[in-house]
Symmetry: C2
Subunit: 342 residues, 2 copies
């Protein structure tokens, strides 16, 4: 394991501040090939090996041959269960008995609840009281306990700190964690086994856990494949980070793609900066159109965040010559009562 | 081939009246095992071999192990392409040069257009002028020409007759045709190959093409499997037909499941009467709930008609002891702008 963060870089990462006291150094490193292969081995049978789908009509629109990795069919409805399962499975009994905790109003919360439930550990998810009831129900379905906070980053962190102090629970960050990145990387490992001769892989980027894991998996498996990130134009902090050479942190970006509102950590920035070819930006209208088209033509439910990489191919934004493109459709957790095209 | 209809029974079938003059006797028979196997062979590679999906959560709700045959992923978005392809592929060149015609505002229209396009024949679909624009667009996508009529059965038949007279096009009935039934039967043939030891198979019933094909496929392949039909309570003519021993014809049933508004023909009635164990009835509210649950939990888009057999298991309506149930999710063509739970 190659330690990556020192105290100085940690302190520049607002997300890390609250738990840097009991920081486990080994959680902050760029995963090596063996970490990712270990993750693939550990989670095998605990998460789904999701299928790859194709569509003649989508290919015609995109002018490429598209291979969609269907993580919307994944357990808990998104790829997040990969990283959460690997992180939780690796916790020593004595450390995890007090349970796990994270702050998330989305897929990482459900995933951590489920992964903890599988090991029989309690799990506490700190969520803003404004979170939609579906998301709360989903966390509870997997045995997670919800502690509500105000819908601000400060309140999330404060309440999470209180939970840690009170219960001794282990904090599992949604992406700023080498174990999480290793787990998310297994998605691309599978995809590269399922489809030969890919020219590029496209993944969305929010906090960068999936994109950095994807980039490492590709780097270790077949470095000839180009890795592209896709990001909402209205939450394009990763794009600006890459182009300015320093992490940009937007605290409250407005995009439909609620899974992509996070910003990079120093760890994910470093990996993406080194191994991702380009980040392309997608407008809100393109997100909606791509999402609707995938539902209509492929008959699958994907969430707005998953529509972002789909839009990158559908609107022909990829800066690659090659024809064979892998696209990670990250999740399908969406409120069916309020669809963005209605 | 065993001829089934004589002129007398044909005349009792309103749908058949308009084209009984040039009726091809060989189209009106109960398919034999060899017909269904021929259909499977002919359409192989021309239609998708659709996957089977499972869901732990759905199984918990249903109290059964459910194997969903995903015909929503089929070409043209429904199983109808199976029968249409087999029927069109079997037409002699000289007969089909003038094209094909049918009246349908739904999936059979799209399927016939696509099947005809594949052979390079013109296709004309008679549709009520009230048909939603999405359905018209879909027919045109596959090169079909639309001729509009009034939204009554009389007008549909009259306009269809005019097309036949004017163009010499071959009429392909949506279900009252042994070739169509043989084609639809291939879905269950595949399912029985994909899943071992099924206790029952559930298919929806409208005109009865799919259900009668399913019943025959099961009968010829593994007669120990029970075949159940699922029908909207508000369009329960097949249920009443089976229980009264004579075909009931409701001309204008009101159900969300627009693919199931047809009524049995003498041919489909006869097959269903002999080989289907029972027809269970599903309320509109159950259709909506099942449809929403499948979208939410399985992340797939199914149309209301496909939700009918799903509801049969989800609401525990199946009169079978066995645990392993195959469910045909027939299609996914739905207007995303007006969902029934909104």
């Amino acid at each position: 394991m190659s330690p990556f963060h020192d105290v100085k870089t940690l302190v520049t990462n607002a997300d890390a501040l609250i738990y840097c006291i009991d920081m486990k150094d080994q959680q902050h490193y760029i995963p090596a090939r063996r970490d990712i292969m270990e993750a693939a081995q550990v989670i095998e049978g605990m998460v789904h090996k999701t299928p790859v789908m194709t569509s003649r009509l989508i290919d015609e629109i995109a002018g490429k041959t598209c291979f969609f990795k269907m993580e919307n069919f994944q357990r808990t409805g998104s790829f997040k269960i990969r990283g959460a399962t690997f992180a939780v499975e690796g916790l020593p009994d004595e450390e995890a008995e007090a349970g796990t905790v994270t702050h998330s109003s989305g897929n990482h919360g459900q995933a951590l609840a489920r992964a903890s439930q599988q090991r029989g550990f309690p799990c506490c998810i700190v969520m803003p009281h404004t979170a939609p009831p579906e998301k709360c129900d989903a966390v509870r379905t997997y045995g997670g306990k919800i502690v509500f906070c105000e819908p601000t980053m400060a309140s999330r962190e404060e309440v999470t700190s209180q939970v840690i102090e009170k219960t001794g629970a282990v904090f599992i960050h949604p992406y700023d964690d080498g174990r999480i990145i290793s787990g998310q990387a297994t998605c691309a490992v599978e995809l590269l086994k399922q489809v030969n001769d890919l020219d590029a892989v496209v993944a969305p980027v929010g906090g960068g856990g999936l994109l950095s894991g994807t980039a490492l998996a590709v780097r270790y498996t077949d470095p000839s494949v180009t890795v592209i990130g896709a990001e909402p134009e209205q939450a394009d902090d990763a794009y600006r980070s890459l182009h300015s050479g320093a992490v940009c942190r937007d605290l409250n970006p407005q995009t439909l793609a609620d899974g992509l509102r996070g910003y990079l950590s120093d760890l994910t920035f470093s990996i993406i900066n080194d191994h991702v070819h380009e980040i392309v930006r997608i407008t809100e209208q393109e997100i909606i159109s791509a999402m609707k088209l995938i539902w209509q033509r492929m008959k699958v439910v994907i969430e707005p965040s998953a529509a972002v990489p789909a839009a990158a191919v559908l609107f022909r934004k990829l800066p690659v010559e090659g024809k064979r493109i892998g696209i990670i459709l990250t999740g399908g957790n969406v409120s069916l009562s309020s669809l963005p095209w209605m």
